[in-house]
């Protein structure tokens, strides 16, 4: 594993080295020291690399990630794994606003809490939060899954499309057009697969979760509303 000390190596050089891995199949791995809250650490990787960051990072860590595994042994600022395409971004601490926003695929695992707008406009990523999520999480989420082991804040799932939301704790309030839905066997199976993939064992029982989804009243075109267009 290569050691990169961001006190010595300019961040742009490190990110460029990660971008230069694109198209190569060898699995490079890096241990990153002294991130000190820097922005866009390990963003835009498109290779099966492994990056482990020792400390807290700033905005957009692991954003646009393809294939790579990015682990943060600390907390993350705004926009963690924003627009993730594939691979895994795993934060051992907390994440600030808009974690996993607009993701298309891959998995985001947050061991602590995520603040507001977690999974906003999700388009296909799997986001697993072991703590709580803040207000407006899963806002306008179109696809993918959001799993919350703790509680969810206000206006959860507001203006939701077809993302699936699972919450073990309490939901402070549901947003417009977000409703609780029946937890069928196929949903329990999906949830179990997601938990397994995130390394969460059978001590977390899928039957403790509630499922939320779109009531599909807001985003459907209705002929009755024609005059509003």
């Amino acid at each position: 594993m290569d050691v990169v000390d961001l006190e010595k190596t300019p961040l742009r050089d490190f990110n460029q080295a990660l971008h230069d891995l694109a198209g190569k199949s060898d699995e490079a791995s890096f241990q990153v020291l002294n991130p000190r809250g820097k922005h866009a650490v390990a963003s835009g990787i498109d290779a099966p690399a492994y990056v482990e960051i020792e400390g807290s990072v700033g905005y957009y860590c692991g954003s646009m990630n393809k294939q790579a595994t990015v682990v943060v042994n600390g907390s993350a600022g705004v926009g963690l794994a924003e627009n993730i395409m594939s691979g895994i971004v795993h934060v051992k601490g907390d994440a600030s606003s808009s974690a996993g926003a607009t993701g298309i695929g891959g998995m985001v695992v947050i061991d602590g809490n995520a603040s507001s707008r977690c999974g906003i406009s999700n388009r296909g990523a799997d986001i697993i939060v072991k703590g709580n999520v803040g207000h407006m999480s899963a806002f306008m989420a179109q696809a993918g899954n959001l799993v919350v082991l703790g509680d969810a804040g206000e206006a959860f799932g507001d203006s939701l499309y077809e993302a699936k939301l699972f919450v073990r704790g309490n939901v402070k309030s549901l947003g417009a057009d977000c409703v609780e839905k029946e937890m069928k066997d196929k949903h329990k199976k999906l949830l179990r697969e997601l938990l397994d993939k995130a390394g969460i064992g059978p001590e977390v029982d899928v039957s403790e979760f509630k499922r939320y989804g779109s009531a599909r009243q807001l985003y459907n075109f209705k002929i009755d509303n024609l005059e509003a267009y």
């Binding site: 000190r36 809250g37 820097k38 700033g58 600022g77 600030s96 507001s116 207000h135």
Partner: protein
């Protein structure tokens, strides 16, 4: 954008380090607000004395001479400390109002009074925040708590008076990241209640609002709570009082905030970068303040 840093020391032994810690924090926030900066430091103070921090708007204006004239006029000693185009005047508390009136009468538009209080001093200037910190030797200042701000102006002109912190009451100060949308109307309401304003700035309206609420008998916590009802817009506020340090974010909480607490201090930063250099931050409790929640620390 704008950047905020704040530091409240729990361990008195760290007080000589306050300015040095704050200078490091403020410098990391340069790129969030490169046009101007300011900081408030709550240092030593005596009951029965009031400190006034003044800024001369013209480089050749002699603040020392002004202090001497004011001293003669109010027939009371004024201790004067020169800080370049700023100065701190220490005057007997029962003469403070008289002194302030004399400063305004004699100095006119050439002099700005940035703060008054037992312990507060405020320094504000245009230019890059690290340059502003160096210019006033923030790194050498000591105190129990302090608040700094790096400004990227939106709602009013870039000048020293429009930089933060704003102080509109004794030992009070406020810094703000965000923009208020109902400030013009609120300013008119507050003016009708007899409150006065020095600038066209939205943050000053928030500061005067809190001062007015506290004049009505509210505690700082209550004043902050009521601002959730009466202020419209985006804000992360950090406020200081003689012995306290508070934080409030609007209910949407678009403007960033991160805090760190150890046995020795409570620190605020717009980004974690501002906190990364603090001693023991690796072991600190680090968290993001909740929206629409008043946080307040007070030393006893």
């Amino acid at each position: 954008m704008c950047g905020i840093v704040g530091l409240f020391l729990k361990d008195k032994a760290l007080e000589p380090e306050l300015g040095g810690m704050m200078a490091g924090m403020l410098s990391t926030m340069c790129d969030r607000g490169p046009d101007s900066a300011g900081f408030a430091v709550y240092g030593a103070g005596d009951e029965g004395r009031v400190k006034l921090t003044l800024r001369a708007r013209k480089p050749d204006f002699d603040l020392g001479k002004l202090a001497e004239t004011v001293s003669h006029q109010i027939e009371s000693h004024i201790a004067f400390t020169d800080h370049g185009n700023h100065a701190v005047l220490v005057v007997a508390a029962d003469k403070a109002d008289e002194a302030r009136a004399a400063i305004t009468a004699l100095g006119g538009d050439d002099v700005q009074v940035f703060s008054s209080g037992t312990r507060i001093e405020i320094y504000k200037e245009i230019g890059r925040p690290n340059t502003v910190a160096d210019r006033f030797h923030l790194e050498n200042m000591s105190g129990s708590h302090g608040i700094g701000h790096t400004r990227m102006a939106t709602e009013s002109a870039v000048n020293a008076a429009g930089a933060h912190p704003f102080s509109t009451g004794m030992d009070q100060c406020l810094v703000h990241n965000g923009s208020l949308s109902n400030y013009a109307g609120l300013r008119r309401q507050l003016q009708r209640k007899g409150m006065t304003f020095q600038t066209q700035n939205d943050t000053e309206v928030a500061s005067v609002y809190l001062t007015w609420r506290m004049q009505q008998g509210a505690s700082l916590g209550e004043a902050l709570e009521s601002s959730l009802e009466d202020l419209d817009g985006f804000y992360t506020f950090v406020v200081g009082t003689e012995n306290g340090f508070g934080v409030l974010r609007d209910p949407i909480a678009c403007k960033p905030a991160v805090m760190a607490e150890t046995d020795d201090y409570v620190a605020f930063g717009s980004e974690y970068r501002a906190l990364a250099g603090l001693p023991g931050v690796d072991k600190a409790k680090v968290w993001e303040p909740e929206p629409a929640t008043v946080y307040f620390w007070e030393r006893h």
